[in-house]
């Protein structure tokens, strides 16, 4: 709790000024600081106070209890590779890279957990090549497809037995379903959709994530519970260098589950071709907005996407008009993407759209309106007619690529 030492407080109001939540005010009557309900114990005021009038008393878990936990564990999520075979999702390798970086300070074993049906688990060597020391795997026919119940039971069993101090998941569709379920089952803290991880002086995992649609960043710790769990935004951390000479330990584990354990049943599955729909995984997106005029003109957008080795995405109005489909919608009610290159064609850049793409590495925008908000986030922009510029660009791209 935030405690105020009234003897030391002189009512200078610095705490009032620095509080991001308006949760501390200086009482006009007695000129002493008073804390309000909206306090989140973020500590900004404690840092700013020059008179030692503020202190945060936190719950403490004994060091011995916390030290029983060691190791960084990552959920090795699998996906279908387009046929019936399973492959390891890209985000797992991204997390391995991040784990290696964290280990520069932490120096604990890195493991990956893989769950799947018997005989179908893909080659695990790659995991060693990218930094895993151990791979824990469990084969069970009830783990054929992802299910909340099956995977929660399996991973919880492993966590209780192996006691990792950190457990990371990709913030994928299933990752965001699984992680909080596990967090509730073993009663630990979980931070979602992180874009940065660090280790602090106390060797705790500092988890940084965007909030308010990306308008603010928050850094969070889970000081009392282990493992410290977090889901991490895919396509955010770089994939580490591959070292084919690395080897690791394969550790099989068993779980006890029956058919009744798994309460959800997949009746039907329609997986479309990965490259047309999965805009979250593409490095290059060519995105169409209202300025495209009509459905037929999307052909031009597709052409550019093909030429530049990217895929087409769109803003919300086109989905509502039925010219494009929801899986390729970028924005607050669609997908959040952070590709290496995002080309916005005829997109004005309303805030609901920006929220979904503004963390892209490079943004290029073409729009006839010089005041279009998209230009505020663009690294390169052209105020002009896409129907004149894109054909020219295609010509130049083609002649350049021929060389």
């Amino acid at each position: 709790m935030l405690e105020i030492n009234e003897k030391n407080c002189i009512g200078c109001k610095i705490c009032e000024q620095v509080c991001p939540f308006g949760a501390i005010i200086v009482d006009p009557e007695d000129k002493k600081a008073k804390v309000l309900d909206s306090c989140t114990l973020c500590g900004s005021c404690v840092n700013a106070c020059r008179y030692d009038a503020l202190v945060i008393k936190r719950k403490t878990t004994s060091k011995e209890d916390l030290e029983k936990y060691s190791g960084i564990m990552i959920w090795g999520e699998l996906e279908k590779d387009g046929s019936e075979n399973l492959q390891i999702k890209k985000v797992v390798f991204e997390l391995l890279g991040k784990a290696q970086e964290l280990n520069k300070t932490l120096n604990e074993p890195i493991s990956v957990v893989v769950l799947g049906p018997p005989g179908k688990i893909p080659s695990i060597d790659e995991l060693y090549h990218y930094g895993a020391e151990n791979v824990y795997y469990c084969e069970h026919e009830l783990l054929e497809s992802y299910s909340t119940d099956g995977f929660t039971t399996a991973i919880t069993t492993l966590i209780i037995n192996e006691k990792p101090s950190i457990f990371l998941y990709g913030a994928t569709v299933n990752g965001r379903d699984l992680a909080p379920r596990i967090a509730a089952r073993i009663a630990v803290g979980l931070t979602a959709d992180c874009t940065a991880f660090d280790i602090n002086k106390e060797k705790q995992l500092v988890q940084t994530r965007p909030a308010f649609g990306g308008n603010i960043m928050a850094s969070i710790i889970s000081p009392f519970t282990r493992p410290q769990m977090a889901t991490a935004r895919p396509n955010n951390f770089p994939i580490p260098k591959k070292d084919v000479s690395r080897k690791g330990n394969l550790k099989k584990f068993e779980i006890k589950i029956e058919k009744q354990t798994i309460r959800t049943k997949i009746i039907e599955e329609t997986i479309s071709k990965v490259d047309t729909i999965n805009i979250e995984e593409s490095d290059i997106l060519v995105s169409a907005g209202r300025g495209i005029g009509n459905k037929e003109n999307l052909e031009l957008v597709q052409e550019l996407a093909r030429e530049i080795k990217g895929i087409m995405s769109s803003s919300r109005p086109l989905v509502e008009l039925g010219w494009t489909s929801h899986p390729i919608q970028v924005g607050q009610s669609g997908k959040t993407v952070s590709p290496k290159l995002y080309i916005a064609l005829g997109i004005s850049g309303k805030i609901q759209h920006l929220v979904g793409m503004k963390s892209s590495d490079i943004i290029i925008a073409i729009n006839t309106d010089p005041e279009a908000p998209i230009f505020k986030v663009a690294d390169f922009g052209i105020v002009g007619d896409i129907f004149e510029i894109i054909p020219q660009l295609l010509k130049k791209l083609r002649s350049y690529l021929k060389k």
Partner: protein, 268 residues
């Protein structure tokens, strides 16, 4: 059939920003609204009611929040919910995901123990964590399905069309169950009629305090939270890029090519 819709009142997230000079949240001129995804969840409940005229479907909305969150619950009543409950107490303040889920869990066990379906919005546009639904489902001991876009009811079971990265799944489970909704079932956001506005204010909207919930204080609010915010800051400000005139399309295209080359974005 009883459907519980958990809702949250949130600031219009796109208007919230951190003042880069002072590091404080700019709160002037930011309105509070019913979280859009929670509105979709409510709409899904309404759609289930419309699709099943032979079943009596009661829709109960529930929210944990400060007193002004009442307005978001009122909106739900205007849009067709039957009853609303606000869990509001200063002891609830500062709750993280876990403490929130526990509080909601207690409330549902006390107020609506015989529910069939819980619908939640996929995420709140302020926190963006999407964690409370799963933690709530776990504490209630019921199955969960995330990212539903359509639900059909077959007696004691539901079939949910679920959106995944590359397409869709249809998942079936037995009720009671929890589903999070990521897209509304109606094309256009609904509006209440003037009649709905009057009727909503006749419906039950109760505030429940911590004492009435009878939850141990250590589990609530800040005390019950396992995560702690240690820092809030503005995201790095992007420098304005180069904006050029496109009146000569050939020249503009050339400059764009040069930019792409410079950034090593075309070098396959």
């Amino acid at each position: 059939m009883i459907i519980v819709v958990t809702i949250k009142q949130v600031p219009e997230a796109d208007k919230v920003a951190v003042n880069p000079e002072t590091g404080t949240l700019i709160r002037e001129g930011v309105d509070s609204i019913l979280n859009p995804f929670c509105e979709y969840a409510l709409d899904m409940a309404i759609k289930i009611r419309n699709d099943n005229p032979d079943i009596t479907v009661e829709i109960i909305t529930l929210s944990m929040g400060p007193p002004q969150a009442k307005m978001a619950l009122l909106r739900c009543l205007e849009l067709g919910a039957d009853r609303a409950y606000l869990l509001s107490d200063k002891d609830f303040a500062g709750a993280d995901v876990w403490a929130t889920a526990l509080t909601l869990n207690e409330a549902i066990r006390k107020i609506v123990p015989k529910f069939d379906l819980i619908l939640c919005g996929k995420q709140a546009i302020d926190g963006d964590t999407a964690q409370v639904p799963a933690e709530l489902a776990e504490t209630l001991g019921i199955p969960q399905i995330y990212y539903g876009i359509d639900i059909s009811v077959e007696k004691t079971k539901i079939r949910v069309k679920r959106e995944v990265e590359n397409g869709f799944q249809i998942i079936e489970t037995r009720m009671p169950a929890l589903v999070t909704i990521c897209k509304g079932p109606f094309n256009i956001r609904r509006l209440p009629s003037m009649k709905n506005i009057i009727e909503a204010r006749k419906k039950s909207l109760e505030t429940i305090t911590a004492e009435e919930l009878d939850v141990v204080n250590e589990k609530l609010g800040l005390n019950g939270s396992y995560t702690q915010v240690v820092n809030i800051f503005a995201p790095p400000v992007k420098e304005t890029g180069k904006i050029i005139d496109g009146t000569d399309p050939g020249k503009a295209a050339e400059q764009m090519m040069a930019f792409l080359k410079e950034k090593k974005l075309i070098n396959f």
